[in-house]
Amino acid sequence: MVRIRQYESRILQEYHADKSPAWDIGAGLIPGEMHLSAGQEPAAVGVCAHLGLGDAITAPHRPHHFALAHGVDMNAMTAEIYGRTTGLCKGKGGHMHLFDPEHHFSCSGIIAQGYPVACGQALAMKKRGTDRVAVAVAGEGAANQGAFHEALNLAALWELPVIFIIEDNDWAISVPRADSTANTSNADRAAGYGMPGVRVEDNDVEAVFEAAGAAVDRARAGEGPSLIEIHTLRLWGHFEGDAQAYRTDLDTVDERDPIPRYAAVLVENGDLTEAQIDDIRATADAEVDAAIQHAIASPTPEPDDALDHVFA
């Protein structure tokens, strides 16, 4: 979690560092929209701890935490975010479209549309007789998309080894779920499709770990799909530059930050010392720094490269 947080914090810093003019979202070494995942680390870490190289993840527009937790190479990912030829996608995808075939990791910037794709990956895994699983990640706002419901139905009908993860960070950009969703529980919706659905409260990484472990075990054993809704926290804006004027819970955000909270638990239980936590943070900082140096030192693509890769 610390590694992810240090990464996102540094990207935040670098993203804004050279925006000139500051309002120009396309300016700077990291251009374009930027959706950072700070506060949502427990979801990624608790789930990905159960996954191996052959297991697939489809992530949404806010993908960095799941990418890093699933083992996507930080250098290649950072180079992609910087739009360099050494990037995961040679500069063609960017931060919302990270693809790492080795880790079966992909993103879609279109809300909930990674859900059906994960079903197809799981279908292939099942057809081939493997015990691999596919994990589909989306936010609570995505659960109102038709694609979400079609995917849940398909997965339940075909008993696919899929784990549907809903990251409920309370805000679909600016709209709270109660204003958009007649039934605010996605565990209920899972039940409607005949699959178990659970909700993990309080952004608790150990609880996510346990629930995800059980869901992954079920999927690997051929028991079919599960849905886990994780009540998590969007620590920052929907995208960088979001002033969050609509947000009514900003005063409680800091106290809900999962990293200091979990660090305190680990220290209290004697699992880690403050010094060890500092070491973890320093190690992460060094790795992040190296990744950013790698990205900046990498070549930018030639304009004509845009014409490549339309077809295989």
């Binding site: 309370d170 709270p176 109660a178 039934n183 605010t184 529980s185 565990a187 209920d188 899972a190 039940a191 178990p196 659905g197 659970v198 909700r199 993990v200 409260e201 309080d202 608790d204 150990e206 609880a207 770990f209 346990e210 629930a211 059980a214 869901a215 079920r218 599960s226 009540h231 409680t252 809900r256 239980n269």
Partner: protein, 387 residues
């Protein structure tokens, strides 16, 4: 206080935890909970409750209930008010809401949840009677009761008329002390292996080393079934039970320790717990789970103690309340309380105006049937009602 008020704690998170994945825990949907709340509110109105003080949440109960309360069909409900308090989506919400309800002087608190929810409420409810409606995964503590009937019973208890004395009793509780920490259990305290608190829920009977029980019913679900299968002890009996697991095994039982989860449990010993006598946990280290939820861990130098006490929460037996109310005529005079509770109050305009409406608040217009008996439906003396 003025108007008859009842508190309602509906846990939006109940029946949502990992036991749907590791056991066959069912899903009590938000819709199901709202349905029970609707029935409850109709029952509360029928029981003479004028105001409901409810716990707020951000998971669909508050929003759903507000929408339902605005419908014409809800016109006869008590006034519905949500406590103003921060909503964190944790057990702290339940504790804060219960404290606010007690401070507001509610006559009863209705709890929609399972054993875990009731435990949190009982920690703050003091002398206020609890009516529990099962919407949890394990529901050993709540007695089975239909929600409309629960509302009637809660209303009758809140208005008293002898219903408190006749229809409530103090439950037992287990008090767990660990350093400065004090926790209370309504059903069971389990000492298990491992060092992680994790998602909280207990599902692996093989990890349990010791078990302390307020009561042990053979037909219960959850850890208390372990005791129930060995040595039944009723809720109203004075003692409790302590069970130790592991070698040397003197008996193996197969209790349902979770929904769809029957596991062999090897038992080493059983002891009866004597009230007000602290017992020290035997295990050198482990995790303490209370009412099915893992709460904290301990080491060899700080073993918790457990004490069975008779001073648990005041709980309502709906059957006892309604029996008392029926036999003392409370259900018949004043008349027709419940008969109008499901629809907006209306009556034949040719009828004479209702009598006995002593309330001057804005809602009195739709409270007429509750507050004043209609002459046309007045029934004979209760003594004359055949039993």
């Amino acid at each position: 206080m003025g108007r008859t008020t009842v508190g309602v704690v509906a846990n939006p998170a109940s029946a949502r935890d990992v036991r749907r994945l590791v056991a066959l825990g069912g899903t009590m949907t938000t819709h199901d909970k709202l349905n029970r709340l609707q029935r409850l509110l109709v029952g509360l109105a029928g029981g003479g409750v004028e105001r409901v003080l409810a716990m707020p949440d951000r998971s669909g109960i508050t929003v759903g209930l507000r929408r339902l309360a605005a419908r014409p069909s809800a016109a006869s409900w008590p006034e519905l008010e949500f406590i103003e308090q921060p909503v964190g989506g944790t057990a702290a919400d339940t504790r804060r809401a219960t404290e606010a309800m007690v401070a507001a002087g509610v006559g009863a608190i209705v709890v929609l949840g399972g054993d875990g929810t009731n435990r949190i409420v009982a920690g703050a409810s003091g002398d206020v009677p609890l009516v529990s409606i099962s919407t949890g995964t394990n529901n050993a503590f709540p007695l089975p009761v239909e929600s409309t009937v629960a509302g009637l019973a809660a209303g009758l208890v809140a208005r008293d008329d002898g219903c408190r004395r006749a229809g409530t009793h103090r439950a037992k509780q287990l008090v767990v002390r660990h350093g400065s920490r004090v926790e209370r259990a309504l059903v069971d305290v389990a000492i298990s292996d491992g060092d992680r608190v994790g998602s909280g829920a207990v599902w692996d009977g093989g990890t349990i080393r010791e078990l302390y029980l307020c009561f042990a019913e053979p037909d219960a679900i959850g850890l208390s079934a372990i005791g129930g299968h060995l040595h039944p002890i009723g809720r109203r009996e004075p003692g409790g039970l302590a069970v130790a697991m592991g070698e040397p095994v003197v008996a193996t039982i197969h209790p349902p320790i979770g929904p769809g989860l029957v596991q062999p449990i090897g038992v080493r010993s059983i002891d009866v717990l004597v009230p007000d006598t602290p017992v020290e946990v035997r295990a050198a280290s482990g995790v303490v789970a209370i009412d099915g939820e893992r709460l904290f861990r301990f080491g060899s130098d700080d073993r918790p103690t457990i004490t069975l006490r008779p001073d648990g929460p005041v709980v309502v037996s709906a059957a006892s309340v309604l029996t008392h109310a029926s036999t003392t005529g409370l259900l018949a005079t004043p008349a027709a309380r419940a008969t109008t509770a499901t629809a907006p109050a209306s009556h034949d305009p040719t009828d004479p105006p209702p009598e006995g409406n002593h309330h001057d608040d804005a809602r009195s217009a739709r409270s007429v049937h509750r507050d004043g008996p209609h002459p046309a439906v007045r029934v004979p003396d209760p003594a004359g009602v055949p039993r």
